[in-house]
Amino acid sequence: MKPLMIFISAAVVNNLVLAYFLGICPFLGVSKRLDTALNMGFATTFVMTLTAVITWLINTHILIRFDLPFLQYVAFIITIASLVQLVEMFIRKTSPPLYRSLGIFLPLITTNCSILGLALFEALREYTFIESLFFGLGGGAGFTLALVLMAGIREELEFADVPESLKGAPMTLLVAGMLALAFMGFAGLLTV
């Protein structure tokens, strides 16, 4: 039961983007079109789930066992960077169209703070292996949800009469604020 709660908590109640401000850069940068947002969301979810599992293994079986907590940040970031590299090579070999449509966003997943944030939260809350897996899946689902919602709203905003000085980033931030307000409605749904 607990893994499912963690999934829902990470995806909706404590959404990484709208409640923890993680992954704001791609959230603002890649949310112009619905289809790119969806692809970005899937790629990030994939990397996030793998990261959650692998950093758990590294943290539990290497860093904690040999008492090396000060290497945590370096170890995590290297894991993420190499995972992104692997995923990039894999997608380029297996699906060139997908590779082209993701383009520059793929390497940028490395500096997506939601992924490192996820690994850090996971270590901080001392999740088990299964819980970490569901946390990664939930975090990815939450990121995709926020990104897709934002892209949908921004596609509609194209036709709206936005004041000149609010065009672009300010308007996106204001919309994100309203989304965050809406997501506050989920607070108290779960206590994980």
Binding site: I24, L28, I78, L116, P163, S165, A169, A176, G177, L181
Partner: protein
């Protein structure tokens, strides 16, 4: 060697003209996440300034040694090393602030502002301009964080730097301002107002 005028320019551009948060939209995550009070914003800004200066120094020193192909991993390991230092220092000297900032201190590693300065400036310039550039960017970042934290703290809890100056009787705090939604709204409006002001100045 460039004259002192250009050095000053490298320093000043980060404060306003190329301010990381307001103009370039870099480092948004910490700018939004830890600015629920002016003190937290200041601490985060100082930690980031330390990391950006140290990593720019290091990157500038080794810029001729590192092969182009492995530069990004090299930079990120350097940054992660300095972030670990900053984190341990905060934990030892300012445990309260360290607790308030929580996992956002290690998240400085993926602050795109630092990587951006390493990649676009420090790796192409000698030591002294690189340090001045990092100092300007760090202070510009700190400035925005303190302003943002100040606005949110005043409206959200009626205090500034932890000092309560508006009691519950005269002012009902807008709780939403210290919640996530308030961060997005405040920064959005702040950038909007700055855009409005600079557009008006240009048109007159």
């Amino acid at each position: 060697m460039a004259g002192s005028g250009t050095i000053l320019k490298e320093f000043k551009k980060g404060l306003w003209a190329e301010n990381p948060v307001i103009k370039m939209l870099l480092g948004m995550c910490p700018a939004l996440a830890v600015t629920n009070s002016a003190t937290n914003g200041f601490a985060m800004g100082m930690a980031t300034t330390f990391v950006v200066i140290s990593s720019s120094t290091m990157v500038s020193l080794i810029r001729r040694i590192v092969p182009r192909q492995v530069r990004i991993p090299t930079y990120i390991v350097i940054i992660a090393g300095f972030v670990t230092l900053a984190d341990l220092f905060l934990k030892a000297q300012f445990p309260v602030i360290s607790k308030a900032l929580g996992p956002y201190v290690p998240l400085i590693v993926v602050n795109c502002l630092i990587m951006g300065r390493a990649e676009f400036f420090a790796s192409r310039h000698p030591l002294f301009p690189a340090i001045m550039d990092a100092l300007g960017m760090g202070l510009g970042f700190t400035g925005v964080l303190v302003v943002l934290g100040g606005i949110r703290e005043i409206l959200g809890s009626g205090s500034i730097f932890g000092v309560v100056f508006m009691t519950e009787e005269v002012f009902t705090p807008w709780v939403v301002m210290i919640l996530p939604a308030g961060a997005f709204l405040t920064l959005g409006l702040l950038i909007g107002i700055i855009n409005y002001a600079s557009q008006r100045r240009e048109s007159t």
